[in-house]
Amino acid sequence: MNDSRKRLINGNQAIAAAAIDAGCRYYFSYPITPQSEIPEYLSLHLPEVGGTFLQAESEIASINMVLGASAAGARAMTSSSGPGISLKQEGLSYMAADELPALIVNISRTGPGLGGIAASQGDYFQATKGGGHGDYRIIVLAPSSVQEMYDLTIKGFDLADTYRTPVMILADSVLGQMKESVVMGGRKKSTPTKKDWALTGCEGRSPSIIKSLYLDGDKSSEHNRKLFEKYQRIQKNEVICELNRCKDADLILIAFGSAARIAKTSIETAREKGIKVGMLRPITLFPFPNQQVRDISTNIKDILVVEQNTGQMVEDVLISASENARVTFYGKPSGNVLEAEEILCQIERCMNKVGT
C-alpha cells in the first residue's frame, strides 16, 4: 500500500532521525566513512531542536564528552566505524563501570587496521565481549533493515536508560548506505526515565557520586557483582531474535545484520527449489539468544551459520547449540560483499548431509 508517511532514506539517516525522535540532544563524534550521513544529518537537524552537535578533536575526546553529558543526565550519542570505535573503548569501559547510559553506533569497516569501507561483520567479538578492559558487557543491537535502524535506535536509548548501560548499534555499509522506505514517528514515544543518580548539582540534597575506582577489595567485588547481576537480568529479559520459516525446516540458517538480509533471498530461492530451510536471526547480539538456539537445534539438527567475517558469532552458536546439533560455518572475509548465490550453494551442500 502507498503510505504517505513513508520516506526513502538510508540507514545512517534513519539512525540520526531516530536519535532526535528519541530525545537525544547531545551528539559528539569525529568523522569517518561509512557512517558520514549520521553526523551530516545531525549537524543540520540537531540545532533545530535546541540540541548540540559537536565535532570533537578526536574519537577519544568525543566518547568522553558523551560520558560527561550522560553523567549530567542527558541522552547522548556518538557514532564511528571500526578503528574509531577501537579508540572509544577506554571510554566505553569507564561508562560501563560508571553505569552511564548512551548510544554508540558502529557502522563497521573491513579490518583489522584501517581497512576499507566495504561491508564487514568483523567487529562482532569487540562489540559483544566487552571491547575495552575489564569484566563488562554492553547491549548490542543488530538491525537488518533501514526500518530497524530507526526502531532499534529508539529502543537502544530506552534500554540504555533502563539498565544504565551503554548500548551499541552494530551495522555496516550495506545497512548504512542502503535506502529503503521507513515510517518514522507514530510509534510509542520514547520516554527518558527520571535520573535521580545524575550529577545535576546537589543543592538541597546529598551529592551523587559516579565513579569506577574502588580500591577497597570488598567494595570493588560488590560493584563487579552488581554489574554481573545486571548483565544476567539483561540476558534473562531482553533477548530478541527473529524466527522465519522454521516450523517445517530441515536446516536452520543463523545470521545477523546484513548477512541475514542477503541470506533471506537465498532462503526464498531454496524454498522455490523445495529445500526446507528456515532462519534464526539474532537481533540482540548481547544478550545472545542462547536458549532459542539451544531449543531450535534440539529439534532441527542441521545448522548453517553465515557471517561476513572468518567466524565470530559461530562461537556463540557452538556454545548454545544442543549436543546433537551439526553446525556448519560459512564465512566470507570482509572486502567483497556476500552474495545470495554463494549462500544458496552452502544451503545445498548442507542439505546433502541432512538425514545422514
Partner: protein
C-alpha cells in the same frame, strides 16, 4: 512483480541521481524498494554504481550479483557487469563513450544508445543519465512516467530545481529513442 537494475558509470555522470529517482518513484507507487550505492572516494572521475530492487513482495538482498538489467555508462562498467546480466535480461549501453565492439552478449536485449548526443539534442549534453532513465522506463515500464516526474522535487537538491524541465525533456528524448527503434 520483481525487477532489479544495476546502474554504473563514472562519478559525476548522475548514476546515483537516476537510481534515487527510480527508487523514490517505485516507493510512491506502493512497491517495496531498495537502493544500494557503491562508489570510490572521488566525487568525480571514479567509478560509481548503484543497484535498485523493486518488488511487490518483501525484498531480501539489496545486493544483486546477477542483475536482470543494467544501464552502463562507461567502458570499465561494461567490462565489469556485462557477463553478470541474466540471460534474456536488458543491457543499455552508452555508445557515446563505449565502442560497440566491446559488447559481447547476444542473449540479452541490448539498447545501443548514444546518450550524450541524445542529451544534446534534448538541450543539455550533461543529461545523458536522464536519457538513459527514459530508455529504461520505455523498455521496462517498471514505474509510471508521472510517478517519476513527481519525484524530481524530492530527489534533486533545490539549487537544481530550475533544471527540472530540461531533465523531463531528456527523459522524453530517451522514451522517443526507444519508440523509434520498434
Amino acid at each position: 512483480m520483481y525487477y532489479d537494475v544495476t546502474i554504473a558509470g563514472f562519478g559525476g555522470q548522475g548514476i546515483m541521481a537516476i537510481g534515487n529517482i527510480l527508487a523514490e518513484a517505485a516507493m510512491r507507487e506502493g512497491k517495496n524498494v531498495t537502493y544500494w550505492p557503491s562508489y570510490s572516494a572521488e566525487m568525480r572521475g571514479g567509478t560509481a554504481n548503484c543497484t535498485v530492487v523493486i518488488s511487490t513482495n518483501e525484498i531480501g538482498s539489496p545486493v544483486v550479483a546477477f542483475p536482470i538489467s543494467a544501464i552502463i555508462m562507461n567502458l570499465p562498467s561494461l567490462k565489469k557487469y556485462q557477463s553478470r546480466i541474466r540471460k534474456d535480461g536488458l543491457l543499455i549501453v552508452n555508445t557515446s563513450l563505449i565502442d560497440q565492439g566491446e559488447i559481447q552478449r547476444d542473449d540479452v536485449d541490448i539498447v545501443k544508445a548514444p546518450l550524450i548526443s541524445l542529451a544534446r539534442e534534448a538541450g543539455n549534453d550533461r543529461l545523458s543519465n536522464m536519457v538513459a532513465l527514459g530508455i529504461f522506463l520505455a523498455k521496462t515500464q517498471v514505474v509510471r512516467l508521472d510517478s517519476l516526474f513527481e519525484t524530481f522535487r524530492i530527489v534533486l537538491d533545490e539549487r537544481y530545481h530550475h533544471l527540472i524541465p530540461s531533465n523531463k525533456k531528456a527523459i522524453q528524448r530517451g522514451i522517443d529513442f526507444v519508440t523509434k527503434l520498434t
